[in-house]
Structures are given as C-alpha cells and as structure tokens.
C-alpha cells in the first residue's frame, strides 16, 4: 500500500533529526572544533525531541488512518537488474511505537547527560556516539529491509563499544570495550549471514515481505530447514546483542562507560534490541519450531542465571545490568510462547523502569551513604530471600557460580579465543618462516634511521 505523504515526512523527520545531529557533531569533532557545551546540549535535546514528537505523531496518524503495514521508500544506495539496496522503512504499530519510545528515552538520557558530563573532557565525543546510537537504534526499529536493519545494528554495536571505552585514559575500559566488541562482531557476523541467506533463499530483502503479514508473508516460502538455519543465525545475533547465554559475560564489562550510557544501552534500549528483532521476525520463528524451543530455553536459562548473579554483585551498575538481563530473559520466553503483545508491553515498561533505576542509582547511593553516616551503621535489610530455602551446599555452589558470573568468560576463552589465537599464531610463525628460511637468508637488524626514510 502507498504510504501517505504525511507519514513519509514524519518518518523522515523522525529518523533524520538524530542523523543530522550525528553529522553536525561529527563534523565538528573531525575538524577539531567542538561546539560549546551549551549548544551541544540544546541541539541534542532539540533533535531528540523532534524525533520523538514526529514519530509519536506518525503513530497517531497511522492509528487514525488505519491503513495497515506500509513500506516507506527514500531512494536507493544502488540499483541493478540483480536487485539493489533500497533505503526503506517499515511503518506499522510495532515499529512506530518502539521508535517513539526509543527517541523519548534517548531524549531523557540526553538531557540528563548534559548536566552529568558537564566539563568532562569527552563531552562532545559522548554526544557524537549518543547520536550515532539513536540513529542506529531508530534504523533498527523502523528498518524496511535487511540492509537498513544491518546498518542500524552496526551503528548500535560500534557506539556501544566506543562508549564502554569512554574513559580511555585507563587500560581497563579499553580492554573491556574490545571484549564487548568481540561478542558484538560475532553477533554482527551472524546478522550479516542471516541477511544474506534471507536474500539468497527468499529472493527478497524486504522485511515487510519476509516477516510482514504473519503466515501470508514470504516467511511461509522458506522451507523448514532454511527457516531453521536463518532463525538460528538470528538467535546468535540476538544472543550477542542482548547478552543472552552464553554471551552474558560482556555485560558487567560494559559497565565501564558513563552511567547515562549504561542506562540507555544496558538498562533500557540496546539490551532490548534483540527482543525487538525476535518480535519482528516472529513469523519466521513460527515456521521454525526447533528454533522457537531454543529461544524459549535460552530465555529461561538466561533469566535464571541473571536472577542469581544479580544478587551477588558488589556494584550497583552490574547488579542493575543483571537485573535487566533477568527481565530480558523473561521477555524472550514470552516471545517464544507467542505472547507478542505481552512481550512488547513488558519490554516498554521494563525499559522505562530500568532507565529510572540506572539514572537515579548514583543519587540513591549518595543518600544511602548519608543515611549510614547519620545512623552510624548499615541499615538492616530486614527481608528474606528465596535462596534461603535451598540447602547449604546448593547455596554455596550457586554463590560460587554467581560470583564468577557463570565462568562464562573463561569458558569462551577456552573454547573459542585460545584455539583461534593458537592457530593464528602458528600461521603467523609459518609466514615468518617462509620469509626467513624459505626465501631470505639474513634478517637485518632494523635500522631506525633508514626506516624514517619513507615516502
């Protein structure tokens, strides 16, 4: 169905305003002429408000006109007889509601960050990355084809890793950012592979055709095995981005970033990107029962693991991150059993609630310290927890697993990273040997002076 002009314009403004913000702040950074804080804060707030308002109005227009799902096209990056890459957005209740919610949350975080990061040396860098995140997230929310979805997915991943390394004067945030990025790259590769397979098997990259009309969509054209294969790749992509098992190890590492970015990424929006993708590809999951069972199992396992782990965290951000993960696991389970509306309401409510918790956490800690100082002791917790029902041995075991965060990092290191590094190391030595022994006999000592002579 042809979209109305007003919807086309509203969506363009909604996605365009954070993109313009990214371009303006990015150019200022590139030219090493960052805008004054006052301007940056105002422009960012204005841009987020514009995005939120236009997407909200679009949602109202969509509801009033009741035209059904629509594909809004803004040209193409390439065209050919073998199929080009179009810039398309899928407009329906799910995408507009999620887009408007995301823009609203980003606006709140932007306003909060303006004061929180006042006079911080990376103030401008933070807002560039936040603009990149919001642009990417809106692209994910409104993507009309797999290429646009992938663009958004990559923007979210890169901005997330760079914000984890925001305090880049210390080695810990940087090494943790690299670790987070490693998992994201696995997720991105799975996403890319799923996109290519979808295009290759179904012959189209349009999400409205693939996942649009429930059983009438092209997902029905996918056979059982191909639907399962694509669904499995999507599950890997979702697990990586939403920190589901076995990729949950990166979540506490990501807490190295500034609190507002932790709030928007790991409390409210980025961590739910996987859930949104599952909601969007629900028709595909309906054709892949094996994948659906796997999604449900993954959600349940993640919820239990995160629920236990969150109780032993010694810092408030990690504790909140694992608490978020518990809810994400439950949302994933809801999607697996087909409760799509419940899952979306749960997602939206949890995103807002956790955002509030993350942003108020520093104040709560401050108040708590004041209270402790006033009364001279730690306030009594005065509550009982379900763990106390378990036998002592089980409790000790659970405590150990939770304390070590499920040993997930060391398992991934042992299974994936170390063999990869070993093989790559051997190959690298082989290449050196080919030069040293095979072709070149003497290896000269590098002479610094001559190395400077480089044109």
């Amino acid at each position: 169905m042809m979209p109305s002009l007003s919807l086309t314009l509203l969506v363009l403004v909604g996605v365009g305003s954070p993109t313009v913000l990214l371009a303006v702040l990015g150019c200022a950074s590139l030219l090493n002429r960052p805008l004054p804080e006052r301007w940056t804060g105002r422009i960012a707030a204005g841009s987020m408000m514009t995005a939120c308002a236009s997407l909200s109005v679009a949602l109202v227009v969509y509801g009033v006109t009741g035209t059904g799902q629509q594909l809004v096209s803004y040209g193409a990056w390439s065209t050919s007889h073998e199929g080009g890459i179009a810039i398309e957005f899928l407009v329906d209740r799910l995408s507009l509601a999620f887009g408007a919610l995301s823009a609203a949350i980003a606006g709140i975080v932007s306003a909060f960050s303006n004061r929180y990061l006042h006079r911080e040396s990376g103030y401008n860098r933070y807002f560039v990355l936040l603009a990149m995140f919001v642009t990417g997230f809106l692209l994910v929310a409104l993507a009309g084809n797999v290429e646009v979805l992938f663009v958004g997915w990559e923007f979210v991943g890169l901005s997330s890793a760079l914000l984890v390394a925001f305090f880049h004067g210390r080695p810990a945030p940087v090494s943790n950012a690299l670790r987070v990025l490693s998992v994201y790259r696995i997720s991105d590769a799975a996403m890319f592979a799923a996109a290519v397979l979808l295009r290759h098997i179904a012959g189209t990259d349009s999400l409205s055709l693939l996942f649009g009309g429930g059983r009438s969509g092209s997902a029905a054209a996918l056979t059982g095995s191909s639907a399962t294969l694509i669904a499995m790749l999507l599950i890997v992509a979702v697990a990586g981005k939403s920190a589901l098992l076995p990729f949950s190890g990166w979540l506490p590492r990501a807490m190295e970033g500034p609190t507002p970015s932790s709030a928007v990424y790991y409390g409210s929006l980025s961590i739910h990107a996987g859930c949104f993708l599952l909601l969007r590809s629900a028709p595909l999951l309906e054709h892949a029962p094996v994948a659906r069972v796997l999604v449900g199992g993954l959600g349940a396992a993640t919820a239990i693991f995160a629920g236990i782990t969150t109780r032993v965290q010694s810092d408030v951000k990690s504790s909140l991150a694992y608490a978020s993960l518990t809810q994400v696991g439950i949302i994933v389970m809801e999607i697996a059993v087909g409760l799509y509306t419940v899952a979306f309401i749960h997602l939206a409510g949890h995103a807002c609630f956790r955002l509030l918790q993350f942003l108020s956490a520093p104040n709560v800690l401050h108040d708590l310290h004041g209270l402790e100082n006033a009364i001279g002791e730690r306030p009594s917790r005065g509550r009982r927890y379900f763990e106390t029902l378990a036998p002592n041995r089980v409790r000790r075991l659970l405590y150990l697993v939770a304390l070590e965060r499920g040993f997930l990092d060391s398992i991934i290191d042992r299974v994936l990273v170390e063999p990869f590094m070993r093989i790559a190391g051997h190959l690298s030595r082989l290449d050196r040997w080919l030069c040293d022994a095979g072709v070149v006999t003497p290896r000269p000592v590098p002479i610094e002076a001559s190395e400077n002579q480089d044109e």
Binding site: H168, L178, R199, D431, V440, P444, E451, D454
Partner: protein, 472 residues
C-alpha cells in the same frame, strides 16, 4: 588532436614535470610544493575526465603485438578507467601532502611521481604487452626504493615474488601472442601463467609471504604507493576475467576468499602495527579479487567498488600509521600507547579510515561489500560466507589497533607541552579523505552506477569471447 587526447597529455605531463624537475638543483621543499600542486591539478583534471561523457569515449586500438584478432586498445578511457584515474591521482596527492617533510627526499619525490605515472599508464591501456612492460617498470621502481643495505632482505623477497610475477606475466603474454595464437593448450598455459602473476602481485595465498614482510620490515611509504592502486586487480579485470575459463575464475575466487579470512585472522594476532596493516591489506585486496572473479554483475561491481574504497581507506590508514611513527617510533600493539587527547584528529581519521577499510555502514566500502557478498554467495553458496567472516575479523582487528595506538594510557601531565598535533596540510588531507569516504558512503549512487556500467561492459566482453570460442 581531440579534447580527450589533450586532457590525457596534460595529466601525463604533470608527473613527468616533477620527475624532470627532480634532476635539477631545485630546493627539496620547492620540489615538494611543485609535486603537491601537480598532483592536485592532476586530480582535478582526472575528475573532469571521469564526469565528462565526451572525454570518456577515447580508444586508440592496434592489432600489433596483440593476441586478439580484433586488436587491443593501447590507450582508452572507458567506464572502468575513468574512475581509476582520479583514484591514482588522489593517492599521489595524499602521499606528497601527508608524508613527513624529513622523510620525503628528492629521490622519494621522483619515485612517487614515477610510480603514479606508471599506475596511470597501466589504467589507460588494455594492451597485454604494455601492461607487462609497465609491470616490470613498477617492480623496478619499488625495488629501487629498497636499495639501501638496511632493506636488503626485503629487496630480495620482493625480487623473488614480484620478479617471479613479472616473469610469469611476460611468459604468459608471450605464449598468447606467439605460438599460443590458435593453439588451445598453449593459450590455456599462457592464461594460467597470467593468473599466477596476478595472484603473486596481489599477495593471494600461497603467494602472500612478501606482503606482511614488506610492510613490517620494508619501507611503508613505497609499499603503500605500490600496493594501494592494486594494479594486479586491473590485470585480472582486463586480461583474465573476459577470457578465462570458469575453472580458472573459480580457483582464483576460492583462493581469494580464503586469503580474505586468512589475512583478517592474522591481522588480529600481530604485535607489530605495520605487520597487522600488511595483513589487513592482504585481506581487503583479496576481497577485491574475489569479487572480480565471481562473474555476476553484483559481485563484479562490488569488487570494483571495494577496490576504490579499500584502496583509499587503506592508504589513509597506513599513512596515519606513518604519521604516528614519525612522532613515536615503531609501534607495538601489545601495549596501550594512549594519546587520543593530544591528537584527536589523527585518532578519528585512523578510526574512520579503518572502518571504511572494513566496509562499515556509512562509508564507501559498505555498499561494495554488500554487493560483493550477495554476488559471492550466489556464485559460491558456502565459500561466499568467507566475506562475512573476513568482515567481522577485520573490524575487530582495526578496533584493536585503534585502542592500542590511541587509548589505554593517560597523557602524562609533565609532557603536556609536547606538541603531537598534525600540521595543517596533514590535517586538511586527512579531513578531505575522511569526508570523501563518508560522503560517497552516504550517497554512493553515481559511483555505484558507474561501477555497474563497467561490470556490465566486462561481462559483455566475456560473453562475446565465450561465444566466439564456442563458434571456433
């Protein structure tokens, strides 16, 4: 003389002028200014040629020394070469504008001009014999840059691999022109020799050992200028793709896809920044080769796009490394070096060019890689996913380099007076390149369309040739 010929004469005279001037007793700084001005004018002129339809229709054909009955164009400007000319000129501007003053002497300026002249001449011809001669000359220029005793070992390895490549190329072409004409077996042998030459020149596994070695222990500047234009890819596209058998193309594509993953994986574990850069180049250059040999319009156009984007982005990345080395000495990736706050522009440029190199969305490489992967999966359903793996690994390798070279260590307050910033010409050159990579990434349509036009022409030539062979 037609307009196109005048323009061509103009663009070839500019590097020749710098070469001639380098033999006179002109101050090196003035010579450099002349080189920068000549390169800038050449870039503008080639841009005019690439956008003007009248200037793009030049072809001077001859049947002399050609193995094709219809002859070969010894000079021509078409959809393929019209975009490659500004690419070569851009690399020259970039080299002479960014290289630290102390590192670019009279001989260096002469070599850069000579190298550019040969690259431009290669991109202008279809003649196999001329390409052999130009290939020999460019290898000789590269070897002359490694003539000092400190680089004896690298000189030997370059001589073995690239000399071998030029030799195989020469013998292959000689077989096709001489006894091979009309003899199917000798023609096939000749084609295989040309394919081997292209693989060696491009550093495709198992002929790759010279690439990381030259980047690591050789001289980075000449290595960039020799490798970034990817003349080996041009040899493939002009001589191999239109006439090779499907088996040949399959072998090349599979080796290239394997190399893309191999290079990306090894870039991730290197401790030397230069060596990591060498492996990154290997990976990206192999992707170009894979795209060119998939014989689908999408993959071919994708390969041609990645050729431009990876060439420019890689040259920028490696130049960032040189600029950084000029300030800090040799760079080890096992430690964090910090310094973002002192040189934010260099850090941002490095990151942007690294991401462009890996085909990150919003940069020119993205559309190219998308087209390439779709075409590659159509041609090789399993191996095509190597592009996906290579892309993931190169992204990680680039971010690892960025974090190691610019982050992880606070700037020492005691050294706050030490100026690490970029000079003005460095600043503007890096900014211009980053803006170009992003601008063409956001609005790639004109470039994509021109690459599709070029790929359609190449595939049409291949169809014609195959039909003629069947008839024969």
């Amino acid at each position: 003389m037609s307009d196109a010929r005048l323009w061509l004469a103009g663009i070839t005279v500019l590097p020749a002028l710098v070469i001639a001037a380098s033999y006179f007793r002109i101050e090196v700084e003035r010579l450099r200014r002349l080189a920068v001005a000549s390169a800038a004018v050449m870039l503008l002129a080639t841009l005019v040629i690439s956008v003007s339809p009248q200037l793009r229709a030049l072809s001077i054909r001859t049947t002399a020394l050609s193995w094709l009955t219809e002859g070969e164009a010894i000079i021509r400007i078409d959809a393929l070469s019209s975009v490659l000319l500004p690419f070569a000129a851009g690399l020259w501007v970039f080299t002479v504008a960014v290289t630290p003053r102390a590192a670019l002497d009279r001989g260096g300026l002469r070599r850069t001009a000579l190298s550019t002249l040969m690259t431009v001449a290669s991109f202008l011809t279809e003649s196999a014999v001329l390409l052999v001669l130009l290939s020999l000359a460019s290898v000789w220029t590269f070897l002359s840059a490694l003539s000092d005793t400190a680089h004896r070992a690298q000189r030997r390895i370059v001589a073995v691999y690239l000399g071998g490549s030029a030799l195989a190329f020469g013998i292959g072409v000689a077989l096709l022109i001489g006894p091979g004409a009309g003899n199917a077996k000798l023609e096939t042998a000749g084609m295989w020799l040309i394919v081997t030459a292209a693989l060696m020149r491009k550093g495709i596994v198992p002929f790759h050992a010279w690439v990381p070695e030259v980047f690591d222990h050789g001289r980075l500047g000449p290595a960039i200028l020799f490798n970034a234009p990817q003349v080996g890819a041009y040899m493939t596209v002009v001589l191999v793709v239109p006439r090779a058998t499907p088996e040949m193309l399959r072998v090349i594509a599979i080796l290239a896809l394997g190399t893309a993953v191999y290079g990306a994986a090894l870039a991730l574990v290197q401790t030397s920044a230069r060596r990591a850069c060498g492996y990154l180049f290997m990976s990206q250059s192999a992707l170009v080769m894979a795209g060119l040999d998939c014989t689908s319009a999408s993959a071919l156009a994708g390969g041609l796009l990645v050729w431009l984007s990876a060439g420019l982005a890689f040259a920028g990345l490696a130049r960032c490394l040189l600029v950084l080395e000029a300030r800090r000495g040799r760079l080890d990736l096992n430690t964090y070096h910090g310094g973002y706050e002192r040189m934010p522009l260099l850090a941002i440029s490095f990151l942007c060019m690294g991401l462009a190199c890996t085909g990150f969305p919003g940069t020119l490489g993205f559309v190219g890689q998308e087209l390439l992967v779709n075409g590659a999966v159509d041609a090789f359903p399993t191996m095509g996913f190597a592009v996906v793996v290579a892309s993931a690994l190169t992204g990680l390798a680039v971010l690892r380099m960025y974090f190691s070279l610019f982050c992880g260590r606070p700037d020492a307050p005691s050294h706050s007076s030490v100026q690490f910033g970029l000079r003005r010409r460095e600043t503007w050159t890096f900014v211009a390149l980053v803006i170009a990579l992003i601008a063409f990434g956001v609005a790639p349509r004109p470039l994509v369309d021109s690459r599709f036009a070029a790929s359609d022409k190449i595939l049409l030539l291949r169809d014609t040739h195959i039909r003629a062979q069947h008839k024969h």
